[in-house]
Symmetry: C2
Subunit: 281 residues, 2 copies
Amino acid sequence: MIISGKEVAAALRAELKERMAKLPVQPTLAVLRVGEDPSAAGYLSGVRRACEDVGLALRPVTLPEDSTEEMLFAALRELNEDKSVHGIITMTPLPKHLRHLQDRLFASIAPEKDVDGLTPVSSAATFCGGDAGFRPCTAESCMRLLDYYNIDCTGKRAVVLGRSTVIGKPAAMLLIARNATVTVCHTKTKDIPAVCREADLVIAAVGRQELVRGDWLKPGAVVLDVGTNWDAQAGKLVGDVCFAEAEPICSAISPVPGGVGVLTSAVLLEHVVRAAERAQV
Amino acid sequence: MIISGKEVAAALRAELKERMAKLPVQPTLAVLRVGEDPSAAGYLSGVRRACEDVGLALRPVTLPEDSTEEMLFAALRELNEDKSVHGIITMTPLPKHLRHLQDRLFASIAPEKDVDGLTPVSSAATFCGGDAGFRPCTAESCMRLLDYYNIDCTGKRAVVLGRSTVIGKPAAMLLIARNATVTVCHTKTKDIPAVCREADLVIAAVGRQELVRGDWLKPGAVVLDVGTNWDAQAGKLVGDVCFAEAEPICSAISPVPGGVGVLTSAVLLEHVVRAAERAQV
């Protein structure tokens, strides 16, 4: 079975339109960035298309490249206080002279607008449970894919490849909350293929093109591929899993593109809508 | 080898006396409680002895059993603002009429005084890394035992039995940061003994007397027993691990009592001293 992020994203977008029809305001996502980093511009135009498609408002706030610390935090404060803004994301990397402020910038986002799930309030809830703030979008996308396809995690062995704060560790926490027995692997893990073969569910989030081979997988395993690696030679996006080898072995797998990634941008929008809903109460 | 929490705690207490001699103030731990719950009283007298032994000041603040929400948070606010108080712990369970406020109470402790590691700032750092706030004392005790006995975690398979927010999950995060490949088991895990047998390091934190048997362990494994179960029949504390069966099989094991638990109270004191040191800068 192919786990179609496209299909789940379409269903989520349809749901969002219904929820937005009940709101007295247009949910608005502010994107704060400093300077015109080209990779940030690409991401931003993707977010814009996604917002337009569902009917969210996008408010880009682009500060000059030579902005001071004061200007940066003043701009964020303004967005935090602006009741017409429901969600805030900040684009990184910041210019070099501001880069040391990145963690403090994330931590300064109002938790109720922290749709990327980067503030301590969000991280604490990702870790401890509860629904304060938001879960990081990619990790949440993985859970939404499992839910949509009725894949029950209880008692399953799950292996998460990658221990990042934005994907690997949050995904592990969310899987533990779903009663999976979770193992987190990383660069220092010995014999990753052997550990991987124990898994009924594999989430690959390492950023290495087709690292996970067919013989790393237990027959019948479910595989979620979070990787989005640009294969310059082939001129296309490639996942962390070798799809051609894995597909005949697993019971279900999310492709790249069309899998986790395409849902992630819809989940970001869902967070903005949810923030707007919460703000009405 | 026996991993002696007693020995590590004694070394830590000696270190604390040296660090306190350099401080212009006496580190002070405030303990906030509502009413006179007998189990809390027992814990409090243990903390008092530990403080006296090292030379910390203990400031118990006991509110009447029928205190209101306002009184509770006013008392905490006072402790948060009092510069002569360096660490704050709150005793639970709260009386029934206040119990729904427990999470909010924890979250309202000033993060720099959160020596139990319960605030969102502490939890976020436990999850994401960094040294904001404090790590939960029991999980940190486990790491200190490993450090003291030079037990390197890199590349080792570690199994944490238990997924609580105060022990299991923090211990898992701290082990991942130490490059262990970590699996978290819990009540929904299938065939826990088999999972356990994969482990080079087992941390047992389930609160079930002698659940872990000798045949659950890989020969040569290191075992940290966090359990403190009262065996009424034998009239003594018993761990989550059957020590008699485990001891001949493992390479190292922490006993109960005299293992993790005895170090945990010393780690709490270390947090108070650290809070006082940080407040001097």
